[in-house]
Symmetry: C2
Subunit: 201 residues, 2 copies
DNA sequence: CCTACCGATCGGTAGG
DNA sequence: CCTACCGATCGGTAGG
């Protein structure tokens, strides 16, 4: 019988790399930094991985896959556009909030990827962009969203809000992803301005 | 008589550093990369600057000063809150758009600053945060903004939108900072949803 | 602003 | 997973 280790070594490396890359950045993290946090020597890492960039690719791809899985299932959901937007924002923010470290690496370090992995990320961005644009378009068609909307700018607006979460969200705090999403979605849908007074009685 | 050089060498170094740091990141840019773009040897840079971090500090401080100058003049402006918000978003986005490279460095590389400069940035963030919170508070007091707003989240929402601009804006494109700001401000103020039908005639 | 150099550290490998 | 090492490159300096 073999021991059942708490977590595969490979996964531990991935986790520590996510943390260090997100805190210090990819290039400012050395393989020796990484190894020492895992209690091993620098060279020993290469028994588990084939190179530093492998780790970055794995983290970035993992993050983009999480976004895909969270959002693309919604694409064909039979919901009014405003509810679909609320749910999409919730899922999007949830992925960011529950994977803050890899999300941070994803947003900051993808430019250091070699061409192939780099293209994958730009392609991913287009996919997500399209998701939100279609959602807006659907909403306008349904009459739920304002017909004057610029679809591109509206999708841009939403993406700004959900993505920027990685810069300020604190997982241990009072706000759950649901709270954040509800609050943001409500403001985006209804606007900051006081609704016009109906009429004088 | 001496020549009047097109641009002081010091400034050229600053500009090239902004570009390289924004494209490749601070740690992935070597002093030799920088020097070779300026047509000199690595060591020669130190006739003009005292160290690599000096450049980063200068870029980051320059960016935050630009934001300050653009926004803080508005603080005491005698404008209705909704117009003040439009103008603030315009100025904020303008700073980002007209200084894309240093803005990118500002948002991505500030975590590599040594403690003193690091604190200055976090302090700056609080200042800007307060600016938008006061703007929201003013708007609620005036009855222009919805009384139910969560001030912190509303300011967060606005900051997301204006800051995220650095990730997608293309200076040579069709959209001017004014276009972007108008579009975003309008959506934020009035919301994405179709206004409720007034009443049936 | 250049040449020549410093010690330190980098990612990665060989051999066990 | 360790020891010992590789060539390359790093930020920075001395002396001119």
């Amino acid at each position: 019988m073999t021991d059942t280790p708490s977590k595969p070594r490979r996964e531990q490396i991935h986790d520590v790399a996510s943390r260090l890359f997100s805190e210090r950045g990819y290039h400012a993290t050395s393989m020796r930094d990484l190894a020492s946090e895992l209690g091993m020597q620098g060279g020993s890492l290469y028994a588990h991985i084939s190179g530093k960039e492998d780790l970055l690719i794995e983290i970035v791809n993992g993050a983009s896959r999480q976004f895909d899985e969270a959002l693309l299932a919604l694409q064909s959901a039979d919901l009014p556009a405003d509810e679909k937007l609320r749910e999409a924002m919730y899922r999007h923010i949830q992925v960011v909030a529950e994977n803050l470290e890899s999300a941070t690496v994803f947003f900051h370090e993808w430019k250091h990827l070699s061409p192939e992995a780099y293209r994958k990320v730009t392609h991913w961005r287009d996919t997500i962009d399209n998701f939100y644009r279609e959602l807006i378009t659907q909403g306008i068609r349904e009459g739920v969203f304002s017909p004057g909307l610029d679809v591109r700018m509206a999708s841009n607006l939403i993406l700004s809000v959900v993505n920027w979460t990685y810069t300020w969200y604190h997982p241990g705090g009072l706000l759950s992803p649901r709270n954040v999403a509800d609050s943001f979605a409500e403001m985006l849908l209804s606007g900051l301005k006081t609704p016009l007074p109906q009429e004088r009685p």
